[in-house]
C-alpha cells in the first residue's frame, strides 16, 4: 500500500514537473523574443516600433505568469521573477514617452523652419536637445541661430508696414515691405502685401465712384461704391455715399438698409431725410432729435406742421372715399392712418361705427354669395367675434346652395358656429320669441339636418366627393361632441371654440399655441378625419384616408398611434388576428392610454378565439393575446392551452415529469386558479408520489413504502399502492412462491392503506380481514 502511495506521489511530482517545465519553456521563448526585439533598437529617438513590440511581448510574459497556477508555483520558488517583466515594461514605457515628446518637438521645429519662424523652431529644438542630444538637433540649432537676426529685421519691417497700412499710407507700406520680402519671403508678409493691393483697389474705385457721382452718373457711382464694399464691407464713408446716391436717385427705400447701425450726425440726418420723403414724420423727428445743426433744428419745427397736414389730408381722403361710396378704400385708408399716426378716436369711431358696418350691410345687399362669403370670412378673421363667425357660417350656407363645390367650406364654418351656438347673438333676444330661452340643442339638431340635406344629394352625383364631404362632416361633428364634453380643454380664439376644420383652415392667420398632449388634440391634426372615422367605428375608412406622412408633433404621434391601435382592433373584428400583430406591436406601450382598450381587445380576442380550430394556432393566438394585454382572460386562455401542450409532451415522453411540473408551475404564475393547470399539476404529483413509493417497494423497503402510501393525501396514490400489494399477493398465491403469512401481510398492508376500498373488500374478506 505504501509503495503504491509513494508511486502515486512520484507520478504526481513528475507530472507537475513536466507541466511546469513546459510552461517555463513557453515563457522563456517569449521572453527571449522580447529581449531580442529590444536589443534590435538602435537608440534612434525618432523610432519607437521595436520598443513598443518588445513591451507587448513583456506584457505577454507577465500575463502568462499571472494566469498559470504552475508558473505561480515556479514564481513562489523563485524560479521565475515576475518583477523583471513589470520593471522592464515600466522602463520601456518611459523611454517610449520620451521619444514621443522628442518627435513632436522635432517635427514642430522642422515645420517652423519651413515657415521661417526660426525663433520658435530654436525653442523647440532646445527642448528636444534636453531629451536627446543628437547631431541632427545640434545642426538644426546652429541653422536657426544663424537666421535669427534676419528674421528679427524682417519682423521689424513687417510691423512698421502694418502701422503704415493702418494709417492709410498704403504706398509707403508697400515701398517698405516689398524689398524685404525678396530676401525673407514669409507668408504673413506676402498676405500683407496682397491686402495692400486690395486697399489700393478700393481707394481707386471709391475715387472713381466720387467722380461719377459728381458728373451725375449715379447708377455707375453706385456700382463702384458697391465694389468698394465688397472689399471692405464696414467702410462707413462708402455706406454713407451709397445712401446719398440713393436719396439723389429717389431710391429712398434703400437708404435705411445702407445706414443700418451707423452712428454719427450725417447718418442720422440722411435717415431722417429719407423718412421725410416717405412721410414718416415721427421717425424723421426721432432721427433728427439729437442733431445740433441749426438748419436741422428749424426743419424739425416744419415736421410738426407737415405731420398735421398729412393727417388732415388722409382724413380728408377717408371722408372723400365715404362720400364716393368707396367703402373698401375708406377702410384701407383708415387702417393705414391708424398704423401711421396711431389711434385717433374720430378715425377709429368712423371706421368701426360707420365704414365697417356699412361695408358689411352693402356687401350683404349685393347677394353675390361668393363675395359675401369671402368678405364675411375676412371680417371673422379680423374681428374674431361671434357676430362675424355667425355671418361667415350663414354666408357659407347660402353660397353652398348656389355652388355645391363650396359645401366643404360650409361644413367648416357651420360646425364651428354650432360649437358656439350658446353665444350666438342671432339667437339672443329674438323679438317674437317667448321669454323662455330657446332650446339650443334642438336648434343645433335642426341646423345639422340642414347641412346633411346639402351633403346627401352629392352621393348620387359623385360618390368620391360625397365620401370626402362625409369624412369632413364626421370629423367636425365628432370633435363637436367630444369637445362639448371637455369644456376646459379646447382650442379657443377670443373665447370662441374652434373646431378642427377652422383651426386648420386659419392656422396661419389666427393666434395658435401648440396642442397639448391630450386625447382630444388628435382631432386637430392632419390625422383628425381618420381619427374621427375610427372613433365612429369606421376604421376601414380611417385607414384609407390617414395621411401617409410621418407624424412629427406629440399630437400627431398620438393620433397616428390611435389609428394604428384601431387598425389592430379592425383586423381582430375581421377574425384576422395575424394581421393585427404588426399594428398592435407598434402601439404596444401606448395601448393603456386608449379608453377601454383592454376590455375591447379582450372582447375581440374572445370572439376571435371561437373561430380558431387548430391547437397550435390556439397556442400562438393565446400567446399573442397575453403578450398584448396580459388580462386575466388572456392569461387563463394561455395557461389552459400551455397546460394541454405540457400534457401532450408528457404523454409522448418528450419531457420528463420534473420538466413538465416546472413548466406548469410557471403557468400557475399566469393563472393560479386555472383548473387545467391545477389538474395537470395534480396528476403529475400523483404519478411522482406513486413512482417514489414503487421505488421503495422495488428496493424491498416495504414497510416504509406502506407508511408513505398510508399517509399520502392523494386517494389515487393510496389506491395504486394498495392495488400493487394485492396484485403481488394474488400472484404469490397463484405461483405458490409466497407463504400464507407473506400473502396475509401484503393484503393486510393494502387494507391499512385503503381500508374501505370496495374493489379490495372481497380480498380482505377472503383472508378473514375485516
Amino acid at each position: 500500500m505504501l509503495i503504491l502511495f509513494l508511486f502515486v506521489i512520484i507520478i504526481g511530482a513528475i507530472f507537475i514537473a513536466i507541466v511546469i517545465s513546459s510552461e517555463l519553456s513557453k515563457l522563456t521563448e517569449i521572453f527571449n523574443r522580447a529581449e531580442a526585439v529590444k536589443n534590435q533598437d538602435r537608440g534612434n529617438p525618432l523610432e519607437r516600433d521595436r520598443l513598443e513590440q518588445s513591451v507587448k511581448l513583456y506584457e505577454q510574459c507577465n500575463r502568462l505568469v499571472m494566469k498559470s497556477p504552475w508558473l505561480q508555483i515556479a514564481a513562489n520558488f523563485k524560479i521565475v521573477d515576475k518583477n523583471t517583466y513589470l520593471n522592464t515594461i515600466t522602463r520601456l514605457d518611459r523611454e517610449i514617452e520620451r521619444r514621443q515628446h522628442f518627435k513632436v518637438l522635432y517635427y514642430q521645429g522642422k515645420k517652423q523652419i519651413d515657415d521661417k519662424y526660426f525663433d520658435l523652431a530654436l525653442a523647440n529644438f532646445s527642448q528636444a536637445q534636453q531629451l536627446f542630444n543628437t547631431d541632427e538637433i545640434a545642426l538644426l540649432i546652429i541653422q536657426c541661430d544663424s537666421q535669427l537676426e534676419v528674421q528679427k529685421k524682417y519682423e521689424l519691417v513687417l510691423n512698421r508696414a502694418k502701422i503704415l497700412a493702418r494709417e492709410g499710407k498704403f504706398q509707403l507700406a508697400v515701398d517698405l515691405l516689398k524689398p524685404t520680402l525678396i530676401d525673407f519671403d514669409r507668408i504673413d508678409g506676402a498676405t500683407l502685401l496682397n491686402k495692400l493691393k486690395q486697399a489700393f483697389e478700393a481707394k481707386q474705385r471709391f475715387a472713381k465712384g466720387l467722380q461719377l457721382e459728381r458728373s451725375g452718373k449715379l447708377n455707375d457711382a453706385k456700382n463702384y461704391y458697391q465694389q468698394v464694399l465688397d472689399i471692405a464691407p464696414d467702410l462707413t464713408e462708402c455706406q454713407i455715399r451709397l445712401a446719398i446716391v440713393a436719396i439723389k436717385s429717389g431710391d429712398v427705400s434703400e437708404v435705411l438698409s445702407y445706414l443700418d447701425n451707423i452712428d454719427g450726425e450725417r447718418a442720422a440726418y440722411l435717415r431722417g431725410f429719407a423718412c421725410v420723403i416717405q412721410s414718416n414724420w415721427r421717425q424723421a423727428d426721432k432721427e433728427w432729435h439729437s442733431l445740433l445743426h441749426p438748419e436741422v433744428k428749424s426743419q424739425r419745427q416744419h415736421l410738426k406742421t407737415l405731420a398735421r397736414q398729412d393727417r388732415l389730408l388722409t382724413m380728408q381722403k377717408i371722408e372723400q372715399f365715404v362720400d364716393d361710396g368707396d367703402l373698401d378704400r375708406a377702410k384701407q385708408t383708415s387702417l393705414q392712418f391708424i398704423s401711421k399716426f396711431g389711434v385717433d378716436p374720430l378715425v377709429e369711431n368712423n371706421l368701426y361705427g360707420h365704414i365697417q358696418p356699412l361695408l358689411e350691410t352693402h356687401i350683404w345687399k349685393t347677394q353675390d354669395w361668393s363675395l359675401i362669403t369671402t368678405t364675411a370670412e375676412q371680417f371673422w378673421l379680423e374681428s374674431q367675434d361671434m357676430s362675424s363667425l355667425h355671418n361667415w357660417a350663414v354666408a357659407s350656407y347660402y353660397q353652398a346652395h348656389q355652388d355645391p363645390d363650396k359645401i366643404a367650406d360650409l361644413i367648416i364654418a357651420w360646425s364651428t358656429a354650432l360649437a358656439n351656438i350658446d353665444r350666438d347673438p342671432a339667437l339672443k333676444d329674438v323679438p317674437w320669441f317667448p321669454n323662455l330661452p330657446p332650446d339650443l340643442a334642438q336648434i343645433a339638431i335642426n341646423l345639422i339636418e340642414l347641412l346633411e340635406k346639402l351633403i346627401d344629394p352629392i352621393k348620387d352625383k359623385n360618390l368620391g366627393r360625397y365620401l370626402q364631404l362625409r369624412d369632413l362632416y364626421r370629423w367636425q361633428i365628432v370633435a363637436l361632441h367630444l369637445t362639448k364634453n371637455l369644456p376646459h380643454t379646447q382650442v379657443r380664439v377670443n373665447q370662441i371654440l374652434m373646431l378642427p376644420g377652422s383651426y386648420q383652415r386659419h392656422a396661419h392667420t389666427l393666434p395658435q399655441s401648440e396642442l397639448p398632449d391630450e386625447s382630444w388634440c388628435r382631432l386637430y391634426t392632419n390625422w383628425g378625419p381618420a381619427v374621427a372615422a375610427c372613433i365612429e367605428g369606421d376604421t376601414n375608412r380611417g385607414l384609407q384616408i390617414q395621411p401617409q406622412t410621418k407624424p412629427v408633433s406629440v399630437a400627431e404621434k398620438s393620433a397616428k398611434s390611435f389609428i394604428t391601435y384601431h387598425e389592430g382592433c379592425y383586423y381582430l373584428q375581421q377574425y384576422n388576428w395575424r394581421k393585427a400583430i404588426e399594428p398592435f406591436k407598434q402601439v404596444r406601450s401606448e395601448i393603456n392610454n386608449f379608453p377601454k382598450s383592454i376590455d375591447e381587445i379582450d372582447r375581440l380576442c374572445g370572439k376571435q378565439r371561437q373561430e380558431i380550430d387548430k391547437f397550435e394556432e390556439h397556442l400562438e393566438f393565446a400567446q399573442f393575446w397575453y403578450d398584448l394585454v396580459a388580462s386575466k382572460t388572456a392569461g387563463s386562455y394561455l395557461a389552459e392551452y400551455k397546460a394541454m401542450q405540457v400534457s401532450g409532451k408528457l404523454a409522448e415522453e418528450q419531457i420528463t415529469l420534473n420538466e413538465g411540473l416546472n413548466q406548469l408551475l410557471q403557468l400557475k404564475k399566469i393563472d393560479d386558479t386555472n383548473p387545467v393547470v391545477l389538474d395537470t399539476i395534480d396528476k403529475i404529483e400523483i404519478v411522482q408520489e406513486t413512482n417514489n413509493i414503487i421505488d421503495l417497494i422495488k428496493q424491498n423497503r416495504l414497510e416504509e413504502a406502506v407508511r408513505r402510501a398510508k399517509f399520502s393525501t392523494r386517494q389515487e396514490v393510496k389506491y395504486r399502492i394498495a392495488e400493487i400489494l394485492i396484485d403481488a399477493s394474488i400472484a404469490g398465491a397463484r405461483n405458490r412462491r409466497s407463504s400464507r403469512e407473506e400473502i396475509l401481510q401484503l393484503v393486510s398492508w393494502a387494507q391499512e392503506i385503503c381500508p374501505y376500498e370496495p374493489t379490495f373488500m372481497e380480498v380482505y374478506h377472503s383472508l378473514g380481514l375485516n
Binding site: 466720387l210 380728408q316 350666438d424
Partner: protein
C-alpha cells in the same frame, strides 16, 4: 336671389318682430306682388308661423352691426401754407471727399482701419 335661397323674412318682407297677424297680412300682399313664386311665399308663411322653423329663419339672417353717423373733421387748417424741407448740402460733402489720389485721405484712414 334664387327662390330656394331666400330667407322667409325676406320673401314675405316682414321684420323679425312681425306678429302672426302681420305675417298673414304680408303673405296676402306677397301673393299679390309675386316677387317670389307662390310656392316660396307659401313655404315662407308656413315657416314663420311655426316657431321651430321660424327660429331657424332667424338664425339664417346675418348679424349686422348698427351703422352710426360718420363724423366729419374740420379741414380749414389745410389752407395754411405748407413748409418744405430741403436737402442740406453740408451733409453731402462730395467735393471735400474728392482729393488728390497721392494724398492720404479720410477714406484711406478708414480703409486702413477696416482692412488692417
Amino acid at each position: 336671389m334664387e327662390t330656394n335661397l331666400a330667407n322667409a323674412y325676406d320673401v314675405l318682407g316682414v321684420p323679425q318682430t312681425a306678429s302672426n297677424a302681420e305675417i298673414t297680412k304680408s303673405f296676402a300682399l306677397a301673393m299679390k306682388e309675386r316677387k317670389y313664386s307662390p310656392d316660396a311665399i307659401a313655404k315662407a308663411r308656413k315657416s314663420l308661423m311655426n316657431p321651430e322653423d321660424r327660429i331657424i329663419a332667424d338664425y339664417l339672417r346675418p348679424v349686422l352691426p348698427t351703422i352710426h353717423r360718420f363724423k366729419c373733421q374740420d379741414f380749414t387748417a389745410l389752407n395754411e401754407p405748407v413748409p418744405s424741407i430741403d436737402w442740406l448740402s453740408e451733409f453731402d460733402r462730395l467735393e471735400e471727399t474728392i482729393v488728390d489720389p497721392n494724398e492720404v485721405s479720410e477714406i484711406d484712414t478708414q480703409l486702413g482701419i477696416a482692412l488692417f
